[in-house]
Symmetry: C2
Subunit: 213 residues, 2 copies
Amino acid sequence: MARTSGSDGEKTEAAIREAAVLLIARHGFEAVSMRQLAAEVGVQAAALYRYFPNKEELLYSLMREHMEGLIAAWEKVRPSSPDPATRLAAFTANHIRYHVERRHSTHVSNMELRSLSPEKLTAILKLRTAYEKELRQILRDGAESGAFDMEDTALTAMAMIQMITGVIVWFRPDERLSVADVTRKYQTMTMRLAGVEQTEEARHVYALDEFRA
Amino acid sequence: MARTSGSDGEKTEAAIREAAVLLIARHGFEAVSMRQLAAEVGVQAAALYRYFPNKEELLYSLMREHMEGLIAAWEKVRPSSPDPATRLAAFTANHIRYHVERRHSTHVSNMELRSLSPEKLTAILKLRTAYEKELRQILRDGAESGAFDMEDTALTAMAMIQMITGVIVWFRPDERLSVADVTRKYQTMTMRLAGVEQTEEARHVYALDEFRA
DNA sequence: GAATTAATTGAACGTTTGTTTTATTATCTA
DNA sequence: TAGATAATAAAACAAACGTTCAATTAATTC
């Protein structure tokens, strides 16, 4: 028939986003049909087009939201301190918390890039590059000041990003390990990759409890 | 029409596998149609069914080949030495060489797991687990003997795998960095994660030139 | 050189796809 | 309470999907 009792545009859009992230994370973007998504939301497929002009724009919107949220989260907790070790510990903690809390949208943002048109892909990669630049800058500052000691700053930054993003592949919060536990352990590992001396290392990790909230 | 002049089953199958890996790596499994794949091979879609009973079996076959090749490559270069640092350096070098040389099939094996049926998924994950167990064992031996020093062996193993597999995301062999360069740098990083002392670290990396061939 | 087998084509099958259009009803505004 | 607008349903579109089948030709075997 037509408009259903209790229907509300804002609620429907939020429900679409949530269901889309879950379904795409589980089955992949190409494998999820608009009808399947609509059914999950409890709506007809045509209703989706009221909120997103087409399937690709829906994906793009989810990815942009994820990346902008990541950058915003970092800007919120970015330390004012110039100390590289402090900043690295904060970066690691924020990255892990954000990704663990949004496993599904992280999955989508990392795996479905190839379903974007060239222009949209470029836009997302631009956000990603801007974010990664933050880490590179921390490592460069640390290398310059002597706080860090690495063979290759750019390469280490890439390796670190891969390592800390990878946490979502295996980690599920349970009795054995909390998010705080995992964060602390990854902080230790990023410190090691950066070449921080062991005694210094422990001091900084310990000092950053606030980033493990 | 019918059989074409010069047609040969073995050659066709090899061509299908090669084209499939490339196309799936680029566009994703669900996004690649049998017709598109056939066109790339220069054949009609129906011809594919002579070699693979259906689309999923084709994917499964590609993944199994990749994982079995990885395990076989490791068994070939696995050091007889019981020294953990030597073994870790060898594992890192083999892993990076294998994945860099097969970027596309690595992509397929890492990204398309969700397109497998539960039974086939289990089979592939079994191979992956067996492979990762090798690394975990090296780390455990090193921790026991005192050669390594880690907070959490299992977690470190996962982080290492993520880090060294991630090399294919950004690395393209060029003038600046050769495969040998990258291997050496990643060996340094895995040593750091394992907690090998810096002086020892350099010795082992240097000693393993043969694994960077 | 005839018979057999291997390799492939071309057409067809029923589904499903993303998307558009039109009609209909709930809710909001004045 | 009348009118406007927002939200949805239902039906339809052509195109593309994975797969099957019968026909046909190349290569091999005897």
